[in-house]
Symmetry: C2
Amino acid sequence: MIEPFRIGIAGLGTVGVGVVKILTKNKDIIAQRAGREIEIVAVSARNKDVERGIDVSAYQWVDDAANISTIDGLDAVTELIGGSKGIAADVVRTSLGNKRHIVTANKALLAHHGLELATTAEQNGVSLMYEAAVAGGIPIIKAMREGFAANNFSAVYGILNGTCNYILTKMQHTGLGFTEVLQEAQDLGYAEADPTFDIEGIDAAHKLCLLTSLAFGVKPDFDALKITGISHINATDIKYAEEFGYRIKLLGIARRIDDKVLQVMEPCLVPSSSPMGKIDDVYNAVYAHGDFVQTSLLIGKGAGEGPTASAVVADIIDLARGANTPTFGVPIDQLKDAKWIDIGETISRYYLRLMVTDQPGVIASVAAILRDNDISIEGMVQSGRDPGQIVPVVLTSHEARHANVQKAAQAIEQLDVCSEKPCVMRIEEL
Amino acid sequence: MIEPFRIGIAGLGTVGVGVVKILTKNKDIIAQRAGREIEIVAVSARNKDVERGIDVSAYQWVDDAANISTIDGLDAVTELIGGSKGIAADVVRTSLGNKRHIVTANKALLAHHGLELATTAEQNGVSLMYEAAVAGGIPIIKAMREGFAANNFSAVYGILNGTCNYILTKMQHTGLGFTEVLQEAQDLGYAEADPTFDIEGIDAAHKLCLLTSLAFGVKPDFDALKITGISHINATDIKYAEEFGYRIKLLGIARRIDDKVLQVMEPCLVPSSSPMGKIDDVYNAVYAHGDFVQTSLLIGKGAGEGPTASAVVADIIDLARGANTPTFGVPIDQLKDAKWIDIGETISRYYLRLMVTDQPGVIASVAAILRDNDISIEGMVQSGRDPGQIVPVVLTSHEARHANVQKAAQAIEQLDVCSEKPCVMRIEEL
């Protein structure tokens, strides 16, 4: 009989509790699949005396999570505290240093300190596993590191934040504005009290940063990422996008062009009829393009106790089976510094929504600015007439340089008739 | 420096050639990911002197594939010959006996002899890998064995044959009949000269049989599978299904109900608006339902040189990294004999298309038979009137017992006014 695989769990929030539930409920089937029992030896959380709906009395309680890895005989530590600094970082650093494998759902930590932590893991001969950090219901880390490992990737992109996708879907279905739908999402528990990380695209960008590294064998570099959130999108944008045959989705895109990599997180217009255009509510979806596998699309729930904890336990089972995959798919000394593409140089079609005073000559002024920036108008809609009032004018462009579009948007914003910053979004024909 | 991982390739058809191409083109990146070089040592095929578009002169040529595993120093043999008997089976049996890992794309072999071969693999301490056997562009074997390994599955189902899905999609888009579209698919190379294995659902059933085993920890049992193909579906069925809001898809379904398992391969009506209803052309899709991950959907190309060879090479990389996952997810002695659900006892809504003489009293006779079998009619369409001629009558039922529906269909077939066997399909609200 093989010894049990012994773990300590640091963090007993939603996901930590989910992990305990899975390892209890599916104990026998997991032992069969792992080839040995998974034994929870110790747990740690801020407060011992909280009602969590699970019984943790059989596990050794550790007051300071940073010490959990010092417990004798532990094989792995599961870090489910979260955050890129502080206690979560301490737990991971000390555990790796103590030669314990780490299983984490912490995308922020990996996006900011992934290279350092992966190096520590490699030096100590242990694994740093993070399937749960990106789209819990989709085994995308495993797919990128293993399932598609035969391929030279040309792109990976996806809908990586369930909260944003829920908000955009609700706006689509109800015609309501961003603020009202956000409030509703908060009431339902789909958005946090402080929703900044979600709605500003930061959470999704953390995930994209890891996918970029896996796809292209480059060092994860969160600071190189251009991030735009969804809080400036309004009901008008959703409505016009639909009229043009598109849906607005917060898309993380990593694409290789020659030997350079584009890495960007921003709301885009995608065709309503495309698979990506149909991913609704809290679902996540990730596309991978490889030179042999061609196109593969994986869809599942991105968050929540069940899917995220399922991904954590999958990593634990892998470790119990003896798997040892390099953190970012290749050994650290073979990870390259990416040559990032200057986003200003990229070419796309664009959507622009302007809020302008309805008066003679406005369209002429806007058209002149676009012409002066080499932007050719494909379509334009001004809904109704309301002389002297602020009205939306929506334009789509033919292919144009990103930097030119930004310059034009700034020039339009300077016009006296323009009442707010234009809303500019890339049109992605997936 | 770690020794190269040495392989022999038995079979140089489309997939075998694809494997050589990948291991040549992506040699460096694969070595980085695998942690060592993958070296093709030997190859074998029926005929040495065939132009294959690749240079095999650097590899040892083996005339009799069954001997390839006797070559010194081989770590794994890749069996890409195909077929459930003969030389393919010999290659796999002798290789496992000689303690070589096996990587295969051979679903027929595994569906019929999987238990025996997995036992041989386990006894010899080697792995039997078959990601390429089921939906090459989708890492579904890995997802079921590893990515979702924390879950107790309730169902796995999917579109598992690209040829059938191509034919059904073309029938949908063109309004043409099965025979014409099959001919076109053959001309384009999407269907084989003898298409029986594809269109009668046998190829897809081989794959389902493996997914069932992985999902429920049961011995693969191809003979327990109820299989219906798509050759009896005509343009009328496609048209009426669409009118009712459905698409016809050849669906493999494995579902757990209490401690029993339903395993069936048959064309079904699925909602046009459901993700499964939108999987078109040669794409495959697999849904997995687990108690924690909930619903995950994976979509990709099911066949073709690139995707299938990509899956073969992924397995080779896994082996080179030292992975050793049990063939059917758990050790052989823990695989259960499935208790199969009697399909006659299952309850579903049904679609029935009858070809009957247009004359008074026909509907009354049909309705009486349905009533006598406890089948309640939900909707009925008879298109146009053509007294004395054969016309289609299409019905949908409320929930009914499968055995009753079969009995009713047989009784209807006995009616003098009925000109052919009724077309009966399950309606699956996914």
